[in-house]
Amino acid sequence: RTLDRELGNMDTDETLPLSQRSEWSDVVPLTQDDGPNPVVPIAYKDEFRETMDYFRAIYSSDERSPRALRLTEETLRLNSGNYTVWHFRRLVLEALNHDLYQELEFIESIAEDNSKNYQLWHHRRWVAEKLGPDVAGRELEFTRRVLSLDAKHYHAWSHRQWALRALGGWEDELDYCHELLEADVFNNSAWNQRYYVITRSPSSGGVEAMRESEVSYTIKAILTNPANESSWLYLKALYKDNKELWISDPSVSSVCLNVLSRTDCFHGFALSTLLDLLCEGLSPTNEHIDSVRALATEEPDTNLANLVCTILGRVDPIRANYWAWRKSKITVAAM
């Protein structure tokens, strides 16, 4: 572009307004017809208005040319959420049989400024679908890069899940989740991805087959950070369709007891997990009773589940109403 300027190239110099570029001299820009009494008008900047006027012109005349492709790029840099422009760009790409690998790069360059729009990711998916399993690695690499800047990027995770399903590459995914969790064990998206892999990977035996190793992994994470809701949720999820096992598996019970016996950490999730177990029919042992009573500051309730609710109201005060309500719902079965 700098060279264009130096050479006085008015054809394609993108720093010039479109109306001054000779490349576009044959096109009559189509202004937006806001009609009489437009409501909530926008104070468009001149560059924006002009670019949209030229876009409207080629969109209306359905010009699917190289310069049209360049114009959609300029328009998208001003307005990356405009789904009409993205759609037209796809039509032009097809008409020109444009190199879609280059298109992947184009998307990456737009993503640098703003990767949080649905249209960009939909476009990425469209391109990747056309290129097929050959780009499996590339899609995982791209999402990995985006996630390295924002490890909870919702669009990136959706795209990654789609890429795994459609293009493959499951083998290293659990390791990748582990990598992210090592960096931040509170990353709920990474925990969600673990669940995604064990339940959907074609080579996973499903939750049944993976339960033992995943429970062991999760318990380690819980003990490192008992205040991390994600790990407790994940642990419970591993027994989602098998409540009997959840109640009877000693690992579950013991992680609660382990955390409750510590004086240096938040007890809320250990207590609520224990409450859920009791409500599902766990028969509390003396160990359970003693470790809960040790936390009681008031006269201990003979009903263990009741007592757990009372303590929760104190240690998790923002949910005091909820714990009081839970207490009111405790049925005879949980006593």
Partner: protein, 386 residues
């Protein structure tokens, strides 16, 4: 500001899906006040300030909103419906607004063209809407959009326009073209992402038009159920992490379609299509120690989730269980001295977070605000057709 549940770009740096703390929102006009120490937040919902803010936006949206051009109807909805919540319906000319909104409707030239697979809803903006071709009298470049259709109908309802006067047959018949085999919806017939947001838009459209011929409810329900995550919340697509906005779309859709009744929690949960106690727990766990609601586990609190999740709790009968004082205090910190709300405390306001700040305060039964219809996200009077 691709915000809005409706255009539902929750995840923009400018908008919804929060991510990093304190990314700056769209309205980055610099103010000398930025460098001075922040005054303590007001202890009240400052209705007059909000009126000034909305009226200013109604007159002219600053250039920062040009990148939201395609969703202009959505911006209009936030402003106009927002003014109605604040009891200021008199500040706008209803007839002018209705006429303007109706001019965005995509109309087929005849019944035959309804079979062409296109969707005849409402455009989101004038930017790609062209007058009908003089010679051939067909609609060139129909990019009418499901979310814009929701916004159009919302504005019409809020301004008291009689919806029976619009051509809802074409709208509903053609809306079916957008529904996928798995029950989800595309927003636009030329192709787009499919997820829970548009299931919600479709259900809300059918509900407002009181006509369910526009969608297969059973298929939609199955898609919704497939979106429930292991922790009780809902993700935008099956397998996705549970998310406040997605959870709202799921639960509100089920309510609109009649698959869940009022006070889900007190009814026998084994007869329910969703797991209500797990959902309740997920929702309530989203209230953070700062009093605000987070959109996902272990993410920062954000104004808008006070509505998305607050409304779910209202719909399932659990809203009495939140800590309303703590929530109110958080929201007041997000209230801007210029009027409007920002997503995090101390930032500049934007229309999306402002609208959902108003709806959140309405859920908290703020006296100066109209009551809310939680499943539509609109003032109650609009929902009941008064």
């Amino acid at each position: 500001m691709s915000e809005t549940a409706v255009s539902i770009d929750w995840d923009r740096a400018n908008s919804e899906d929060e991510e990093e703390n304190y990314d700056d929102d769209e309205e980055d006009y610099s103010s000398p006040a930025q460098s001075s120490p922040r005054p303590p937040p007001s202890a009240n919902f400052e209705k007059d300030r909000h009126l000034v803010y909305l009226e200013m936006m109604y007159e002219l949206l600053p250039y920062h909103y040009q990148s939201q051009e395609i969703n202009r109807l959505t911006l209009a909805h936030f402003i106009i419906s927002g003014l109605h919540f604040l009891g200021a319906r008199d500040r706008i000319d209803k007839d002018v607004v209705a006429k303007w909104v109706l001019s965005f409707q995509a109309l087929p030239s005849n019944r035959v063209s309804l079979k062409d697979g296109e969707f005849y809803g409402f455009f989101g903006s004038r930017s790609s809407q062209f007058p009908k071709d003089e010679n051939e009298d067909f609609l060139t470049h129909n990019s009418s959009h499901l979310a814009s259709t929701y916004c159009a109908l919302a504005i019409l309802k809020v301004t008291g326009h009689d919806l029976s006067t619009i051509d809802s047959d074409s709208l509903l018949l053609s809306m079916k073209n957008l529904q996928q085999d798995d029950g989800s919806f595309m927003p636009i017939h030329i192709g787009g992402e499919t997820d829970l947001r548009f299931v919600y838009c479709a259900a809300a459209v059918c509900y407002m038009l009181d006509n369910w011929s526009g969608m297969d409810k059973e298929k939609a329900k199955n898609y919704i159920l497939n979106c429930q995550s292991y922790d009780g919340g809902f993700g935008l697509i099956p397998g996705s992490e549970s998310h406040g906005g997605a959870t709202y779309c799921a639960v509100a859709s089920l309510r609109l379609m009649g698959f869940i009744g009022v006070d889900l929690l007190s009814s026998d949960s084994s007869s329910s299509v969703i797991d209500p106690s797990l959902l309740l727990n997920w929702c309530l766990q989203r209230q953070a120690n700062d009093g605000g609601f987070q959109g996902r586990t272990n993410k920062p609190s954000d104004t808008c989730y006070a509505f998305w999740i607050g409304a779910v709790l209202r719909l399932i009968g659990g809203d009495a269980l939140i800590d309303k004082i703590a929530l109110r205090n958080f929201l007041l910190k997000c209230q801007s001295k210029y009027g409007g709300f920002s997503k995090f405390p101390g930032q500049l306001p934007d229309l999306y977070h402002s609208y959902y700040g108003y709806t959140a305060f309405s859920l908290l039964e703020e006296p100066s605000l109209s009551p809310l219809c939680p499943e539509l996200g609109l003032p109650l009077f609009a929902a009941s057709g008064i």
